[in-house]
């Protein structure tokens, strides 16, 4: 189906189901139960899951296939966000032109940075991209203030022209982003017994775009172009002596992944129309590297899993505080309760990075192929057990 083989089609269908039913899947606990804080099914977080999923899928086309590790991809995300907010300021609040422009601008920006950075490979390439991203961050933060509004960040105001829309709504507030009239923030809430499920228009727009982006990445992985990119990773010398010019291949991969990052940035601004320089900082670039490696670089689904994993930790673990811990361990004697809370304290709240760091180290050491490898091992283990069970069953048959 869709020009994919059976395995890829079923993967696409699984991802489609997961994203479409995410409001249910991510909300397993009733609203007023003690575990409700582990629910991730609220629009803001679900949007982030799929937007960072797009970012990581694009990054994986570069890093997973060619092995070129870019440490500057957040720059493209930031450029996409700025472009989208400018569209909201100048043209109107429809998200389509904003998203289109963010992809185009990020692509052009990637073409420029890639053209220069790809003169080197390995660690030198990484450093060049990092340098470019930091330059972009600092420019956005200070020099380019007329365009980026510096450290305040670019925001919508009532004075914006919005030539195809209105500067202000009838009641004098700033209009909201929409898709041909459908407001991105509009949420339909469905209460089923003690559960409350939220269906947000913005989330579903992002989810459909992520599915399209995921489908495109499967096509790229299975194409001759994708095979050439894997060949670049494997042996550039042989590429050159087989009559293939590696530069345009790596540059094309770089631009495509930059456009994915721009798309993610554009969507981010479409959900919440502001853009700040911190989106371009090197920590943001590092985050997408972590997502891709954690999920499984070079695999199709890995980056999406990694993005979801990291964003879940960032938003859920960081919200657990000492009061929550005390309520969990209140069954213990007082001294022991305090001791346990004291021990766990560094790993929660603002310390969630510590938990993430430890998990990242465990994955890299024990599962070099990321979460995908973990999944494969579990599958292999189950199949092995099943095969064993059936073989022992067969052996016992003759005796009966």
């Amino acid at each position: 189906m869709f020009g994919l083989n059976k395995k890829d089609t079923s993967l696409l269908i699984i991802v489609a189901c997961l994203t479409m039913f995410a409001p249910f899947i991510l909300n397993p606990f009733p609203t007023d139960s003690g575990l409700a804080q582990f629910n991730a099914g609220y629009p803001d977080l679900m949007q982030r899951f799929v937007i960072f999923g797009i970012f990581a899928i694009g990054f994986n086309i570069l890093f997973g296939l060619t092995g070129y590790l870019s440490f500057g991809h957040a720059a493209f995300l930031g450029v996409g966000s700025y472009s989208a907010v400018w569209m909201f300021k100048l043209i109107g609040m429809n998200v389509i032109p904003a998203i289109v422009l963010s992809v185009i601008v990020a692509g052009l920006f990637a073409l420029l940075i890639g053209f220069i950075s790809l003169r080197r490979s390995g660690i030198y390439f990484s450093i060049l991209t990092l340098a470019f991203a930091q330059m972009s961050f600092n420019l956005a933060y200070s020099v380019l203030t007329p365009i980026t509004n510096g450290e305040t960040g670019l925001q919508l105001t009532l004075e914006d022209p919005r030539i195809l829309g209105v500067s202000a709504t009838a009641d004098g507030s700033i209009p909201v982003t929409n898709l041909f009239g459908l407001e991105m923030r509009s949420t339909f809430e469905m209460a089923v017994g003690p559960w409350a499920f939220q269906f947000n228009a913005g989330y579903y727009l992002c989810a459909f775009i992520m599915l399209a982006a995921f489908y495109l990445s499967i096509r790229i992985f299975r194409s001759p172009f994708g095979m050439m990119l894997r060949a670049v990773k494997s042996n550039q010398q042989r590429m050159n002596y087989t009559g293939l010019n590696t530069r345009p291949y790596t540059l094309a991969a770089f631009v495509i992944s930059g456009m994915y990052a721009g798309l993610a940035g554009g969507l981010m601004a479409s959900m919440d129309p502001l853009a700040g320089a911190e989106r371009m900082q090197w920590t943001a670039s590092g985050e997408v590297v972590l997502m891709t490696i954690l999920g499984g670089a070079g695999t199709l689904i890995g980056p999406v899993l990694g993005a979801g994993f990291i964003k879940y930790f960032e938003n859920i673990f960081s919200k657990i505080n000492d009061n929550v811990l005390h309520s969990w361990f209140s069954f213990m004697p007082d001294g022991m309760e305090d001791a346990v809370v004291f021990l766990i304290h560094p790993f929660i709240g603002k310390g969630w990075h510590l938990t993430l760091g430890i998990l990242f180290m465990l994955v890299v050491i024990f599962l070099p192929g990321g979460l995908v490898e973990g999944g494969q091992r579990i599958k292999g283990w189950i199949q092995g057990r099943r095969a064993k069970d059936s073989s022992t069953a067969k052996e016992t048959n003759p005796a009966e």
Partner: protein, 251 residues
Amino acid sequence: MGILEVKDVGKRFGGLQALSDVNLSVKENSVHAIIGPNGAGKSTLLNCLVGKLIPDTGSVMFDGQSVLGRAPYEINQMGISRVFQTPEIFGDLTVLENMMIPCFAKRDGAFELNALSAVLKQQDILDRAEAMLVEMNMADKRHMHAAALSRGDKRRLEIGMCLSQEPRLLLLDEPTAGMARADTNNTIDLLKQISDERDITIAIIEHDMHVVFSLANRITVLAQGTPLVEDDPQNIRGNPKVREAYLGESA
């Protein structure tokens, strides 16, 4: 006029004159061996032919066109394929994929953004790659990762990859270095078969005299960066200058 004409080529690395006044003519459809003691400049010469190095002086003409100043991939697209001393293959890819890549390079040129069509729908490429695998006797290994192949199989695969581009000149850099005797003899048979059956010129750099005298119908002896003599194999064997420079007492 040979298919490959090397004229007055010189190359200096700092204080070392690696090549000087190298003149060489490789005739079409011949097997031309370049031999010489260690440090004679054989590999430097080869690198000048494929675009890895640019000589300081002289000219290198392939089929009437200069190769100087062209990138390795451009020279390859002109019809020169190179086999390396240690097999250079795509270790992370399967044997079949390894064979498909040169077929793509032959069909689509140095770059083609073919990002939306599936590899498995490129029937012409698949057929060519499969045919070459059968010819190289490797069809049963098509789904193996190339890195897992034995040394001899890696060499066969690399030669097959070069041949699937239908080059006019095949350059081999010590193709049997580090091989066991049986593998060496297999490689000799394979190269003999290639040169007999195909419209192809082979230039080979080799240390092993057994290989050289079983294959070559023309030999150039290089010593201290300059050609000592170029002649037929039977004359090389008896040439006292060659004995002195290279073959020594053992010959």
